[in-house]
Symmetry: C2
DNA sequence: CTTGACGTTCCAGTAACTAGAAGCCCTAAC
DNA sequence: GTTAGGGCTTCTAGTTACTGGAACGTCAAG
């Protein structure tokens, strides 16, 4: 099948597929006589693996590791677990950071009357006036 | 004062100050006779405003808006509030997304025995085997 | 006078793609 | 036969918010 079919079936855009091939995340696709990339169900399956891993917050580099582990019959689940735990920690750190930012902003918005007056606690805070 | 002093006092790196100037977020700094940028306490104050706003998750474009509102004596706090609420929503969306990813990953890690066996629920999930 | 720590500009690189240009290829309709 | 439309190819550039580094000017100390 052509790239757009593979894109639809896998949930990875054509552009992204070419990009993944370009950076070496996935093997270069076979080519038809006309030079078009040619995908089969196995390729689509693998692209779905990539899409799901990316959606779970794994970086492209981590996805490459996971694909290697997936291909390796001898891989140990401990290694996979380690990659996953790294991703979890990164995610949790990011959540904590975002929540802290959000809390501060919400607090400021609550105190902001939000009308036509030029007096604004949000700007006051940003300006360092307490 | 020179750029590195301003950087230390404001918490914005020298590189970032030049970058902000380059993209027009802040006014071009005055120059000393030797061509060095010259900052005063007012500049540092403004840089701190930028640093705090960035730290709260405002995009550079939003910071530009906030600076304009801050400079504008006639600005209405409603406008500021609107920008802040936009930032809050973006943050909340991101948190929800990250938490969903994290929850799934944690669930998978729990079910992964994490030993030397090549059997791994995480890879099984990524591969679409349920 | 030299050394080393600053300052300057400009170019490249980061992450993970997306957008768009220029140019084949294929199919179907006229 | 050819023309119109899509889809395919490659390539470059743009995105966000900077950071790192090269090449070079400037300044204060010894």
């Amino acid at each position: 099948m052509n790239i757009s079919q593979a894109a639809v079936q896998s949930g990875v855009s054509s552009k992204a597929i070419r990009y993944y091939e370009g950076i070496g995340l996935i093997e270069p696709a076979r080519r038809s006589d006309n030079g078009y990339r040619d995908f089969d169900d196995g390729d689509v399956h693998m692209l779905r693996f990539v899409a799901r891993a990316r959606g779970l917050g794994f970086s492209v580099i981590e996805v490459a590791e996971l694909l290697a582990l997936y291909r390796d019959r001898e891989r140990a689940s401990a290694q996979v677990r380690k990659v996953a735990q790294g991703a979890i920690r990164r995610i949790e750190d990011k959540v904590a950071e975002l929540q802290s930012m959000g809390d501060t902003l919400k607090h400021l918005v609550e105190r902001c009357h939000g009308d036509q007056r030029p007096d604004c606690p949000i700007l006051d805070d940003l300006a360092g006036r307490h």
